[in-house]
Symmetry: C2
Subunit: 590 residues, 2 copies
């Protein structure tokens, strides 16, 4: 195998595999995928740790150790077999019904395809060996559930080793990316990389996308499509920013008025069935979907149904909020806790069947708004801080009763100095201007997520979303109308982000992972794909395998290849590089 | 009519009409469009000025006065009747089969629609009175071919007055935008603005989009769709940047090798039928489509078929070009003039049936490249200048023999100081850094087009398209990887561009109009719409009616309305404003 490595290097930079695996060695023989390829799944885990183990593994649970026994999750009818068979069928569709002939990666007229008149060597069977004791590449982490190896011999024997079905989902996506469609009709699909050996596992455990569905309408179908693209990029966490000041699109059966009065319109509500289907779709694609109910700020839309819970609703927004409309949950009202209890008991009893996480928000709390709160009448930090602490304590207690780990935005620690149960919470940083946010949070011993707005905010650079106030002669909304986090974060900039550059090794275990963010002011169903892709893919590789790397030409070529695959699968991703550059490797350097 | 004006002002800021007409007064009565609405077209021009006149009008010809007689265009089978009937049918489709219920422009639950149980008053007939002697609003220009009036009485009598069919196309698009779909099934479509009177005509004669189809593949279908969206925004010139260094996508039957060897692949060629169909589609939508063959720079792709015509082909690009790949037409070769003659005679004999314009390019000529040109062997301006003059003289002579006006980029005047025939040329400015480009060109008495890259380059802000050279320690391709014309030009910035702010009234007649530009490094079929819209619409209003205006909230609301209409017609336009702001007029000011 190793003797072939040099030969391969000549072609390996052009193609395939996003995110880059930890270890990939290959030859240059051709193998074809049989139209009748079979999956042979041998599981050594079912007998020892049946449903419960499987579920815990699939969900990548980050749970308090007092989490209940596997029997509590008896609802789950998905078996490892089902999950892998489904992923295998998708892989077959991608490879055998795909049409990715990589013409645009070669000079005009180049012959880059294998001959079809020779006898073809086929892969007839893919053996998946699932065993928690499998000797997979060390990830440097305790958890090996996402690790996998792929071993394909020159004569077409294909073996995948995994410790859990999650590793199998990743392996089958990687496997699909090894194949190209031949341009001769009916010739089929081939890999030019045999024999090959891949060892792979992620650098970070939590590799997420935060998607705002409140500011503009994003349909469940959009999210389904996005989950598929996330799975293809080995992202494993979809953070649904499900409520905000602008609208409440989520049906809560215990509090039906919330969506009926809080959604933009009756047609713009995610039903409980929608959420259930999305979470299940996530599980099938290796993406744990979890919801954020942004509390106690960003809650104006609650006031449509429950005006007595909200203070400063629809006041002049620039005094009482960072963006329109103003309105926050009252902080000392006796009505708020039972509302929160009812809301979260309803929602979390449903989401906790699919996810181990709940995000309570906690960002951008406006202190002015509490001067108008009849239960507080103060904007003093001294008075507000214990009220915020009590509120967050309540939310955490409800979430942990549902066996969930709570994520919250950095302000709760950095601005409000809350005392939080270290085992039950993860603090999510976002403010790019505060470079030391991660350091401060880690210094306090909290687990954390990265995703600076200076690097990973996809909505930046499109200009103001508010209009100039004709009564304000000093309106900042004037030429050139740049938004607060301009410029646009191009994919190379996102790729070059090294989120843990300043984190000492001793604290590295507390960095659970990160998220890229799409806030919804200027995004809806129509332009969603273009806002996300290919940039989210760049972030995905950072979190899977490449933190701290600068993008080079081979990065561009692999990402451009991945973009073509996403387009082929119905994702309207933007262009990575001009076709001439793709066709003339080395021709577009500066 | 005027007594109703105040009432209307309450609702008029929410809706309709992009670009804004010169004069629009209306009431607040409801009229419905009959499903059987008929067009009654009375033309007073056919008898006096038949086909020839019509053609000249439709084409908005900017021609030398020695242009041949109408009989030379006897090929054209389109009558004014055909054109207007076709536009009328499209209007009916948009209004009657549309589904634009403007819910997202009103607060949740608001009642904004007319009752459907009252007797409905219908528009049963639209009378179009076409007469060159019609007394239309003065445009401040001699040419009134695009002007129109719409007069709709409270009882549904609809009269459109035009001087040429072009005005009719604009009038019917405006007419369609006056209508909304009622949410009750089968209730139909209505305008809430009766009675109404519109006088309209453009500020600039040439209102264009420059679309690069060479750097990445843009299919004829993409261009067809783009033409429809342009017509809806009253843009009337599509400048096809049809060739560049990277590829030659245009079939030239006299020189078949050009596309066979110059296109990215055989599947990426516009056939002569494609170009013909696109130009005809343009005529149907009021958009004159004209081609640019970028000469004598940006011609590397010619060298694939004709290597002896090109110098410095595929040399280290940063020394011989502004972007990869390098290569320019030789300047003193005896082979070049017959090639140019054959190329242009073929192309222009076809394009001149639909257009009065030809763009010869003329930008970014690299002087270094001529050190390698065996017919020149010099990079001295002194030596090159007369050669450039002779080359451009040749191209102009061929184009004028085809009765075409020649457009060229500003460098030919500003950098090369060419002497050009004032009547036959238009100089197109583009370099934002050279604020005085327009002034200098006007000072020399040339007609000109505006479209500064500091304001109207749609491709800016997406980051570098080249990769860092690993051998160049000083590569500028490093974080944050911003491109040369970053930041992204947001729609408000584009709208606020006042292209003629510094032009004295005495020279204003030389400013023919402008163009917004989409260079293709990071655009292909997949993300084309998102790159163009809604930003091109913002530029369209600047050129039709609003040069020098700053965008305010009513601009946002009208553009958001237009965006919904474009989406409904299959254009994947980006978001103008968050839905909450649209639903809460006045709520998103700063």
């Amino acid at each position: 195998m190793r003797a072939l490595l040099w030969v391969c290097a000549l072609i390996s930079s052009s193609f395939a595999l996003w995110p880059q695996p930890k270890h990939f060695e290959h030859g240059s023989s051709t193998l074809w995928l049989s139209a009748n390829v079979q999956l042979v799944h041998s599981s050594h885990s079912a007998s020892t740790q049946p449903l419960g183990w499987f579920w815990i593994t699939v969900q990548q649970v980050i749970r308090p150790s007092h989490h209940g026994a596997p029997s509590t999750v008896g609802w789950l009818s998905l078996s490892s077999e089902t999950l892998l068979q489904s992923a295998f069928e998708r892989m077959k569709l991608k490879v055998l019904d795909g049409s990715f002939v990589p013409r645009k990666f070669y000079p005009r007229g180049a012959h880059f395809e294998p001959a079809t008149d020779n006898p073809k060597c086929y892969i007839e069977r893919i053996v998946i060996d699932e065993d928690p004791r499998n000797n997979l590449t060390s990830t440097g982490r305790h958890d090996r559930s996402e690790a996998y190896t792929i071993d394909v011999s020159e004569d077409g024997a294909a073996l995948i080793k995994i410790a859990s079905p999650l590793g199998g989902l990743h392996a089958l996506e990687t496997f699909a990316q090894l194949f190209l469609t031949h341009s001769s009709p009916s010739a089929g699909s081939y890999t030019p990389y045999a024999p090959l050996l891949i060892h792979d596992s992620p650098v970070f455990e939590h590799r997420g996308l935060n998607l705002d569905i409140s500011r503009n309408w994003i349909s469940p179908a959009d999210v389904m499509r996005t989950i598929e693209a996330m799975g293809a990029n080995k992202l494993n966490r979809l953070h649904i920013h499900a409520s905000d000041a602008q609208s409440w699109p989520l049906e809560i059966p215990a509090l039906p008025e919330l969506a009926l009065k809080g959604a933009y319109s009756p047609a713009q509500i995610w039903s409980t069935e929608d959420l259930e289907a999305i979470q299940l779709h996530g599980t099938y694609h290796g993406v744990q979907v979890f919801t954020e109910i942004d509390l106690p700020g960003h809650t104006t839309s609650i006031g449509n149904a429950y005006p007595s819970l909200v203070t400063a609703k629809d006041m002049p927004w620039s005094e009482y909020a960072l963006e329109p409309p103003s309105g926050q949950l009252r902080l000392n009202s006796s009505e708020v806790p039972p509302f929160i209890q009812a809301l979260l008991d309803d929602l979390l009893s449903r989401t906790s069947r699919h996810s181990s996480l709940f995000h309570l928000g906690g960002d951008e709390l406006n202190m002015n708004a509490y001067r108008l709160d009849p239960t507080v009448r103060s904007s003093s930090h001294h008075i507000l801080q214990p009220l915020v602490q009590a509120f967050i304590d309540l939310v955490i207690s409800i979430a942990t009763a549902h066996s969930l780990t709570v994520i919250m935005w950095e302000e709760m620690v950095l601005d409000w100095n809350l005392t939080l149960p270290h085992q039950d919470v993860i603090i999510q940083t976002w403010r790019g201007s505060d470079d030391d946010a991660l350091g401060t949070i880690l210094g306090k011993g909290y687990k954390t997520l990265f995703g600076s707005n200076a690097h990973w905010y996809l909505d930046c650079g499109y200009g103001y979303f508010v209009d100039p106030d004709p009564l304000n002669p000093d309106s900042p909304v004037r030429p050139p109308y740049l938004d607060y986090c301009s410029p646009y974060k191009n994919w190379r900039h996102m790729y070059a982000y090294d989120p843990v550059a300043g984190v000492p090794q001793s604290q590295r275990h507390l960095v659970v992972g990160g998220e890229v963010h799409l806030w919804g002011e200027l995004t809806d169903s129509i332009n969603l794909d273009d806002m996300l892709w290919p940039r989210v893919a760049a972030a995905a590789e950072v979190m899977w395998s490449a933190p701290g790397k600068k993008p080079d030409e081979s990065t561009t070529r692999r990402l451009a290849d991945m973009r073509e695959r996403l387009v082929m699968r119905g994702i309207r991703a933007g262009v990575v590089q001009m076709e001439w550059c793709l066709r003339h490797q080395g021709g577009c350097r500066l």
